[in-house]
């Protein structure tokens, strides 16, 4: 039986993918090299790691408004996270996910960066507000 985590209903299609987890925050403008698809900000906990096709599990959304356009642009080149699973997002990340049709959920019971580990296989159902950890 998979572990089932409940969250607030989200945005985007249901997806299945592999988690990349960190106790850090997120901004597409501040933290990413969007050309190569890796975290580029030297002080980010995921610096140097590829985010393309991964389910990013992070704490909060931070910083500027650019992410609202950028997820759509990143998706058009196929270098975008598969889904965003956060403790709490700001409007920009939700707006960017809605505009770019990228799956996003937040507001779990407990700290989602503790509940999920890097490498976990996740199935995310935003309409139902459910994340399943398939390997545990």
């Amino acid at each position: 039986m998979p572990t089932v985590l409940k969250c607030h209903p989200g945005i985007g299609p249901s997806v299945t993918g592999i988690a990349l987890v960190a106790k850090d925050n997120f901004s597409a403008r501040y933290d990413l090299d969007r050309k190569t698809g890796v975290f580029s900000r030297p002080t980010h906990a995921l610096a140097g790691q590829s985010y393309a096709g991964k389910v990013l599990v992070l704490d909060q959304a931070k910083g500027g408004v650019a992410t609202a356009w950028m997820l759509h642009e990143m998706k058009s080149r196929g270098l975008v996270p598969l889904a965003l699973v956060f403790n709490r997002v700001n409007p920009i990340l939700a707006q960017g996910a809605a505009f770019g049709s990228v799956t996003i959920v937040d507001r779990f019971t407990g700290d989602v960066t503790d509940l999920i580990q890097t490498g976990d296989e996740l199935r995310i159902d935003p309409a139902a507000g459910v994340v399943e950890i398939l390997n545990r």
Binding site: G63, E73, Q95
Partner: protein, 410 residues
């Protein structure tokens, strides 16, 4: 969400495809944040620089702009945030003709919606300052935090697509800072130090923003004896929003809203000289070669333009260093008229209008010009620019200028 008859008609496509797309986007975002309905807004402000848009975003704008005029015209006064490129300065900054072509397409699309091309992040200082209680759809974090905090207006962070949607429908989902419940203080800070200049106000904002670390935290800041003034609050708020995603702060005696806490009164975090200096020193690089000095983010007021001209005092900028000043087109015109632009540019510095550096292909400019060490008096810029491969240092305006003249961090 509860929809009016007009809103249901838009959703059904009766008002054309641009408004159908807009309201459908707003409903998706509104439901995510449990909005009960949409609230009419009096201004929208769109961030749409070409670096963020990319080819895909520009094509999206062009596809909406192809609708008949009655279907694509914005319903409320709609302004633009800084653009990616100034056609007068782009070649000197190492930007390319390909970037200029993207810029031209984006401007054409935005104009066809009836957007006013203000190209600034200080519209609250220079275009139409918000008023208390006014609901807005502002598309720049610095504009939102200033509008909410200093004026008592009501806006969430509205990214480019959402601000455009608000412009097309004349409303926005009613959640977050449109609601009284979210505007009460959740954190408490006490300032035990007197601040000297704008870079220190930015540093203080950065520290509080980093500590808050969430869009949903509202800091109360006590211990500020004298009203800091518009430019100080501008740097303070912009840095707080940048480091922490913060959208509202309260300062007793300075900001207009009554001080209430969301729950029990939180513990007070004290900030003194040692904490402030530690924050600034983390970016220190005394003695290093200076590649580029940037005054931007937020755009400079006319008063800041005069301060740069006075600090330069006619001294030439070092030949191995670039000094860039970015302001709004309105302030640039005023600076031209008052001789400030001439006084700054005759030292070899560049005055750009309508761009704001970090949203102007900062990575490509670094590569084209061999820039690494960047100096600024903007804590917001110093925070952002590391992700583009720069090594940033935060100094006062005067020390930034002295460093530009000597070519070394002083």
């Amino acid at each position: 969400m509860r929809l009016t008859e007009d809103e249901r008609a838009m959703l059904a496509g009766a008002a054309g495809e641009p408004r159908r797309w807009a309201i459908q986007h707003q409903i998706a975002v509104g439901e995510f944040f449990d909005a009960a309905d949409l609230v009419p807004v009096s201004q929208a402000h769109i961030m749409a620089d070409t670096e963020s848009l990319g080819e895909a975003g520009i094509r999206f704008l062009e596809s909406l702009a192809a609708a008949p005029e009655t279907e694509r015209r914005v319903r409320i006064p709609t302004l633009t945030d800084p653009r990616g490129l100034d056609f007068q300065t782009y070649k000197r900054l190492g930007q390319t003709d390909a970037m200029a072509a993207l810029e031209g397409r984006t401007i054409a699309a935005l104009k066809s919606f009836g957007v006013l091309m203000t190209d600034t992040c200080i519209n609250y200082q220079t275009i139409l300052p918000p008023t208390r209680g006014e609901h807005l759809a502002m598309g720049d974090t610095g504009v939102v935090i200033y509008s909410n905090s200093v004026f008592g207006a009501r806006s969430n962070f509205e990214g480019g697509p959402s601000a455009l949607a608000a412009a097309l429908t004349g409303r926005t989902p009613r959640y977050g800072y449109h609601l009284d419940a979210h505007r009460r203080a959740t954190r408490r800070f006490q300032l035990d130090v007197r601040l000297h200049d704008l870079s220190e106000w930015g540093a203080l904002g950065g520290m509080i923003g980093r500590d808050c670390g969430s869009y949903w935290e509202v800091p109360l800041i006590e211990g500020i004896e004298n009203a800091p003034g518009s430019d100080a609050l501008k740097h303070f708020g912009a840095a707080m929003a940048s480091y922490g995603s913060t959208a509202l702060f309260h300062m007793p005696g300075i900001t207009p809203e009554p001080i209430e806490f969301a729950g029990s009164v939180p513990d007070t975090v004290r900030i003194g000289r040692a904490e402030l200096d530690a924050f600034v020193t983390a970016y220190g690089a005394t003695g290093d070669k200076v590649d580029v000095v940037v005054f931007a983010a937020p755009h400079l007021s006319l008063v800041e333009m005069a301060a740069v001209a006075d600090a330069l005092a006619g001294r030439p900028v070092h030949p191995d260093t670039t000094l860039l000043v970015a302001t709004s087109p309105e302030i640039k015109h005023a600076a031209d008229r008052m001789g400030l632009t001439r006084r700054i540019e005759e030292t070899g510095a560049i005055v750009a209008a309508g761009i704001c550096f970090y949203q102007s292909y900062a990575g490509e400019m670094a590569e084209a010009n061999g820039w690494k060490r960047l100096l600024s008096n903007s804590a917001k810029l110093v925070n952002i620019i590391g992700g583009y491969g720069y090594r940033p240092t935060l100094l006062s305006l005067e020390r930034c200028v002295d460093s530009a003249v000597t070519g070394r961090v002083v």
